[in-house]
Subunit: 492 residues, 2 copies
């Protein structure tokens, strides 16, 4: 099915509608927003098998993955419903007046988070459900009290249309203002740019390429009023294998990494694209084992032609670099849109000289960097750009003996994993999915987990407000029963 | 005293030193950092009368103001010491493992805030102590675990040098690495730009003009790795007077506003530069009273020649706009560097047509906007740019009857005040000093109060870490006794 591109007039109308809606939607209670978010989950489930089939058809992803992703999507709708119904997320702080303080009395002062305004969300190619129309960006923004305008990803426009229909039914069912969610189609860049440039837009969510995310960030910063862009862009998720531990678990490590590199045809932002280790006999055995596993892995159909063409192109580029050895390659014959799992190796010496080897190859590829000693291992870690994740494989004692390496690694990533692969991102309060640039545009925020709501709020202080004019969250007696910092003490 | 400009080599050396220091300083405990911050306060106090005299000489500010500002400065040193010694500010979140969960086990996951790296702070002209060398930016960054490089404001370079000496003595006394604080002088822009562009710089604090702050923001966003700039720039802090209430308290309101407009020769970011009201008899009486008070107010010596020249220039520009009536002007004769308190009025009709009337005139000036009815009042509020603060004067009942006005006003400012002037910024957990652009570059953060520390941290998740490798804040048994979200429950 084809959807015609939205016009710039439609962009303008959508933002005007969103802004008007914002002024009422922002004041809804957590209970009201919770009901809405739960209705979205229900309506997505009510789409049943049709949604699964359409998404499979548009993305080439297998049924189990689509069903899993749908569960993740309805799961975060309900998680954010829980969060806003409970209410403590607004981070209320109350300092009561000290009228007799000298030299000047202290006024009553109360602070909480309020939503920032209309948010533009770009659907992600690689998550047709969990990071698209009702994805984490949309749902966390709606939970915060911000209207959302989604630009559907053209590669799964029909899936997006189905989910948008579900959200619109949830709006009707729960009596929400209809401008709280709007859905636009566009195949080119013009509509997206206009959405980011519109003065009523107050924030942007994006998951995609470094080029795309950086372009949106630049447009947003050059506006008369700069706005935040939360772009998740590019990460090669380095995995460090410590030598003594590797020697004891070559096969297990190779098995875990082979599975992680090829999972979902490598189309995850958390794909382990870089494996770093000290050159020794254990590493040789590990490379052999990993290579054999990759050689017998099957080629997978990628999301769409653009992604598989891009994978092929970037892979050729990477393999053509100086000092690269192809260690293992799936023996499958690539058919239409298929990605061939591949692992290669390079010395740390060559890796450090060549910045293009640090670039993401989006797909089932990983590069093994062979360090001749601990000094080179340090240099490689020091050389890393910002990452979503970084893993370290080693026994507790061995990792402890690499304390300064771990100390540097923390500067490079938003999530550190011991003895685990980076794929698999839990949706929970302790999740940080966002790391130093270029993995994301803002390492101080996460796009997964309850804290994702913090991207779309700002604090406001209400000074000397009469009780009746205060938001419920800040009233004396704590009518909502939320956690608040009350005169420097956390209380409920 | 003259200080020679730092060279670009010195900038580079300073950032290299800061980065090396960062890798150890970031791991110090809250207790160690607290000791350091308290020592800074002690050493500033130990400077005694010398600091007061030097600061008075460089800034023309009166003794009481300098002494007050010194108290504010040592006060925030000790406030941040309390904060990091207590430790809950790291916002720890812990989700323990569910090894038997299906289809996949849930890993142990723990998150906390960690410092982002070396921070560059620009001393502010209008706060030689509280927003300069040991100002809120410096102290909150040091509290977070970030080394700081201060570029002294050239208008009070000797004051800055004295305070830098105090910090350096505190470093020695508490055994801190010496690169944790460095101090550079520069009269031009080159050094500041180089500091912001340096790859080791991870954040910037600035208080000053819109032009200066926006320039630093643009440089920072155009870096290969964009970094956050926290610039507090420009705010005219609108004050809305509701008609029925004004009629009952003309003199009291005029007295409060006259005092606030002229306080510190109007050299506060929270100076009430705009007064908005509906045109009626009460407003006429109010303007008369305010004008008389301004006419008898004294001219005050401004911080330095540049500031007073700028005030004179901007004032002439504002008063030359179409439809402006000068209502009151201090009858004092302006001597060297003095600012003449002035109030003027304009109709909402003219105000809405002329964007230059929304620009800050830094000094003792306020513009009264006369609205012919409620519709025009709404239009004026809707037209406002982002502000640090906004005040509304009215009885509880009258404000309640202007609910949609208040609803819009919240979108325009970081702090809303009922029946109070904007000057006077409490240093406390509930303070939000930061509003929508152009008042600051990022309305989601505050530069005053305990939450100022949040500007200089990012969250990191530690997944499947053995206990011995976890930071103290995240260990089982909660050895630091801090508040943590443990399996979705706040606990100590």
């Amino acid at each position: 099915m084809n959807f015609s591109d939205s016009t710039l007039d439609q962009v303008n109308t959508a933002l005007n509608e969103a802004q008007i809606t914002f002024l009422s939607y922002k004041n809804l209670s957590g209970k009201q927003k919770g009901k809405f978010l739960r209705a979205i989950a229900d309506e997505i489930e009510a789409l049943g098998q049709e949604l699964v089939q359409v998404a499979m058809g548009e993305t080439n992803l297998p049924e189990a993955r689509i069903v899993g992703e749908r569960g993740r999507t309805t799961g975060h709708c309900r998680m954010f419903a829980d969060l806003v119904e409970e209410g403590s997320w607004v981070d209320a702080r109350i300092d009561t007046a000290l009228p007799n303080r000298t030299p000047a009395p202290k006024p009553d002062s109360r602070k909480m988070s309020v939503p920032i305004g209309p948010i533009v969300v770009f659907g992600a190619a690689n998550f047709p459900l969990a990071y698209s129309t009702a994805g984490g960006d949309t749902i966390s923004a709606l939970a915060a009290g911000c209207p959302v305008i989604v630009k559907a990803h053209p590669a799964h426009a029909q899936t997006s249309e189905l989910v948008a229909g579900a959200i619109k039914r949830a709006i009707k069912k729960t009596g929400m203002p209809k401008g709280v969610f709007q859905h636009l189609h566009a195949s080119g860049f013009e509509v997206g740019q206009a959405l980011v440039k519109h003065p009523f837009t107050k924030g942007v969510g994006f998951t995609g390429s470094l080029v795309g995310g950086k372009a949106l960030h630049d447009i947003a910063q050059q506006r008369p009023e700069p706005i935040p862009v939360f772009a998740e862009m590019s990460s090669i998720n380095p995995v460090i294998l410590l030598p003594n531990t590797l020697a004891t678990q070559v096969e297990k490590t190779a098995e875990m990494l082979a599975a992680s590199v090829t999972l979902g045809v490598g189309q995850f932002c958390t794909n382990p694209g870089l494996i770093i280790a000290i050159e020794d006999q254990a590493l040789k055995l590990f490379i052999d084992s990993l290579s054999k596993r990759i050689a017998t892995s099957s080629a997978g159909t990628m999301l769409h032609q653009g992604i598989s063409d891009n994978y092929a192109k970037k892979l050729i580029h990477a393999l053509a670099q100086k000092g690269i050895t192809v260690e293992g390659k799936s023996s499958a014959t690539a058919e239409n849109n298929q990605g061939i799992p591949t692992v290669a190796s390079v010395t740390a010496f060559e890796f450090l000289k060549n910045p293009s080897l640090s670039e993401e190859v989006f797909g089932p590829f990983s590069l093994i960097v062979k360090c001749k000693d601990l000094t080179e291992l340090h240099s490689v870690v020091n050389h890393l750009q910002g990452q979503l994740t970084s893993s370290i494989f080693g026994s507790e004692a061995e990792i402890a003996s690499y304390a300064s390496l771990l100390n540097m690694l923390i500067e490079k990533a938003g999530r550190l994993i011991v003895n685990g692969v980076p794929t698999g991102v839990e949706v929970c309060p302790s999740m940080q999915h966002g790391g130093p640039f270029p993995s994301t545009t803002d390492s101080r925020f996460t796009s997964v987990g309850t804290d994702a709501i913090k991207r779309f709020v700002r604090p406001v202080t209400f000074q000397s407000f009469p009780a009746s004019l205060l938001p419920e969250e800040l009233k004396d007696g704590n009518p909502l029963g939320i956690w608040r910092l009350y005169n420097n003490e956390w209380k409920k």
